[in-house]
Point group: D2
Chain length 339, copies 4
């Protein structure tokens, strides 16, 4: 049965595997000093339009989030997140384990606004009895497939700078956001408007890997120590370097994300054309069609997916995720199965 | 101006000061091995109707809460609390700083129910991506003056045991709860129905001090190390021992709480008799009368208190707190000022 | 039996108790905002010859040390300490529990030198695989009774500034150091030469209390949050304020330390006059006479003390500690018992 | 220039790369539930001669060590390690960052003995002022190439069980230890004699990966939460599963280690035959020849290696490390260069 459960079910883009084979017996220094890591950082910096930005390759998103909070925050400083934020829901308390409270904002579209952030600041003014909000965590694309526009991100960035808050973007699915047809952000915009963010490879064609980018030079101090201390520094750093080297040569990163988004859009379009609704308007590779339970049962005989939310006794919203390698034929088959 | 802002504005009951003076030049072993600490624990154990319960004296409530969570929980285990819980709002992230997430329940009366707790368990079933709820934190009396009845606590205790959760009661204001006219819990009940709790002296006549009581022997392992490591073990432990020794001789602890509750009840009764409402039905020493803003302005010329909540453009709820030493004359004066 | 085991066996200087009684029914704001805390800080600042230094009262030495490390250090930053340092030996791993490694230096006299510190820096140059030494922890007087001269401390201070290390002095027994006949440091010197230190009251006439002084303004940021988060902020902060208010009025602090030192010196002098040796040359209230075991057995029938170190089969070094309230008569009795 | 600096300079054994390619488009569940991880664990369990042992794949040695300490130890519990232990020297304070003190033992051969461990226990008996030693950390092969015999490990295991200490083996180079000609331990012995250990793949032919094995069922509780919370759970767990699946099919793991050891032994033999000495008698892939500095200069023109220790003004000990893929021709060339 073909799975639309997630975007990390397969391995990696063939270019990455090919490079692993070709480079296999080259001797390289360890711990991220290898030539592939060095070159990959150069390729990324070109797209950031920044020269001295700190870039660090790590193995996963929870690790990236925890490292950033650990490095940036003093013990009493807290994080502001949407209630749907990955750090609040699905990271087993990683941020709290590193000592920091996650303050949440209820947000139907999974995004944060300056108003909501400033409201949190007001609620936390009773120093020193309450935590001190210090870092705003956003995901782009969000955990429910929505994206930040340049206007959204500019407003939030200004709010953060005005209030001396750090702005950090979880980019586990940054590719899908940047490649979204309704999006207008570039990597250079993200680098300009945030203090730090990460570029996810695991969910966009890599075997593993997230590239943490630290734009604020005051925060880019001694980060390698934090990596090492948290067990995030691979001896064979070449493995991570090669992922990003291949993804950032020839625009592969955005092309793979476009493929995933297009597959999702084809399904969304068909869902609407058949008269069904989508729970959330998502231009990315996560979509949430609302189907009758009987249809869901039929689809479940051919495909794997997660139910997302009960709508009423007869209807449920599904979560479908497409990927960098979702086969056209499977999209066709899924569409055909919607009756 | 007389203050109704809190119950820790004055020093200590004279018996305590007297004992400090009388014992001053006695030599005692340090770190809680002194004769007063030993005797105080015996007095408390008598009321608990338990022989081998672990009792540990510490200097404050935030410290007590943090110590307990640090000692009882593994890193991935989380705490369930009412959203009004002191640990969630007013401890500067102490629990998160010790590594644990605080999961909240919206509760209008500040209390937790078995249903609400089990709902949280269901929401956190996606192991290992979510934290594991392990300890239920309740306050009695709560942060808004309400109390648990024996029926409430029995139900919650059964729920916790069924679900392998620890039940911990924050007793910063346990005296006011046990002494409340509508209450039916004894110290022995609390000891029987919880895994641990603490008895607050700071807000009930002591200079400082909370007595952590660990009822569950599996949790009473190596706790002194946790005290020492967290800087909670006083060299002159006699200072804490003397607080509890005096408070638990001759029923002083409950008598002081009765005094505070009675003062609050006199004000509440008068508020109602004048046709004003109370935001919350509280039988303890925290009350929340709703007054016209003009009256509040008048009262503010004679008394200190905190505004609690805006009710509408003309009315605000106040928080008034009485204490073990609130003067009758001041209650009279306050009542007289309500017109 | 009279105890020479430690300097915290009795209560507090009577002035402190008297003030507790006189102020008992005054209403004061909580959490260190009371008038006694405010005035005590003014008195201390006068002796520091500094105006805006941060001063924070806490309940004990382990707490003070842990708070300072927690507030000052990032996760990968480590502490340098003598192997005899209290933080390394007798604080149950408090510093490590707050995340920081303690790097030790073997030092026969319990003191650190610039050479030893720079040696540690050289040994830790392999970034990011090793911790980054960042704070130099010294005790004065040390755990074995020795003291830093102005020359010692100046040299260490210059070394720290040159190497961007923080210099922190544990002053659990700072009184005995400042009052030592061979000492030449003043509180103002200590404030000028360190980044932070604390003034211990627990072992010099207070019921409890250490005054953390932060001289480096870059380190004096948001410290009250750290206090609160670690359960170190007393609701009735007046209790701490009163200790320091009384100790720093009328030179009581130094006078009490002089009393303790003098009592120890009388014993030391007699030990030497009887032909016995002292293990360490200590000008403070901790002394280490070497006695035949038969004499120790005799002394042990009248006095309590700790054996410190076996010298040979017939001889053992004792640790004797005198205090702010050691009775002359007991010193006489002890001297008389040395035969 | 050919490098003898370490055993992680190249990529992975070709079988692993081949399997990555063949399996690339298979869809697998994430987070370690994939078929390769499942099968790899079965293969390992067969060699352990245990059925229900917990096995968890992580990305590196520092991560493995930190996870184990985090999962097994309560806050006041400390680790005993040789002073040369990787956790003490080269993990940037990872263990302390997770809250635990590392107590060290000076050991010329990098190994721990029951006597040395029991000595540490005696020195830490002053509860609760000192940390509580709870876990004995050993490396096999050690950081200086030595190995534990079955007799060594049996004695240490008995000592640990008698004293209620956990015994944990860092197996970053476990292959080289098990394959050493003078060694007599099997994986099954290690599983029987320790509470937990890990099997290192990164330094023995894998791209990355260490397999944590938890033999003590009381310690194998909720470990996946710890993995997730610390960012150690790869979304594409197949990447780790495939490393171990290939290494544990057909005895590849031990064969690769034998290759590395044999290359080192050839150099050692030649060193001795030329009349030079070795600093440490190592039967594994790390060797420490002592050469004249003039010879070292010559060798340095053809090969990369680390100087290890200055012996005298004319001589220095080198550290040479061979690997699973060290070319025969390079061993020949190195030998030829020793004159």
């Amino acid at each position: 049965m073909y799975s639309f459960k997630n975007d990390y079910a397969e391995g990696a883009h063939p270019n990455i595997l090919q490079r692993l084979i070709e480079s296999n017996l080259e001797q390289h220094p360890g711990y991220g000093e290898d030539a592939y890591s060095v070159k990959a950082k150069q390729l990324i910096r070109q797209q950031l339009a920044k020269e001295n930005t700190g870039i660090y390759f790590v193995t996963g998103g929870t690790q990236a989030n925890r490292l950033v909070m650990t490095a940036f925050l003093r013990p009493h400083e807290a994080v502001i997140s949407a209630r749907t934020g990955h750090i609040f829901v699905h990271e087993a308390g990683a941020i709290e384990a590193s000592g920091h409270k996650v303050i949440t904002i209820d947000s139907p579209d999974g995004k944060l606004t300056p108003e909501a952030v400033e409201d949190i600041l007001q609620q936390h003014s009773l120093a020193p009895h309450m935590v001190k909000p210090k870092l705003v965590y956003i995901s782009n694309s969000t955990e429910i497939g929505t994206i930040y526009t340049k206007q959204d991100l500019t407003a939030l960035s200004e709010c953060c700078r005005k209030n001396q808050l750090y702005l950090f973007m979880d980019g586990a699915r940054l590719g899908s956001a940047l490649a979204a047809p309704t999006g207008d952000l570039t990597l250079a915009d993200v680098a300009r408007l945030t203090d730090a963010f990460y570029i996810g490879a695991t969910k966009n064609g890599g075997l593993l890997g997230e590239a943490i980018v630290i734009n604020n030079p005051q925060l880019d101090v001694d980060f390698p120590y934090i990596l090492k201390q948290n067990g995030a520094l691979l001896a064979k750093g070449r493995l991570l370097g090669i992922q990003f080297y291949e993804l950032f040569r020839n625009d592969l990163y955005l092309n793979l994300a476009r493929h995933a988004n297009a597959a999702a859009a084809r399904i969304s379009d068909h869902v609407r054309s058949k008269g069904y609704k989508l729970l959330i308007a998502s231009p990315t590779n996560q979509i949430f069609p609302i189907f009758p339970n009987t249809l869901i049962e039929d689809l479940g005989r051919q495909f794997q997916f997660y139910p997302w939310k009960k709508i009423n006794d007869q209807h449920t919203a599904l979560r479908l995720i497409t990927s960098w390698t979702t086969a056209e034929s499977m999209v066709d088959a899924f569409i055909a199965a919607i009756h």
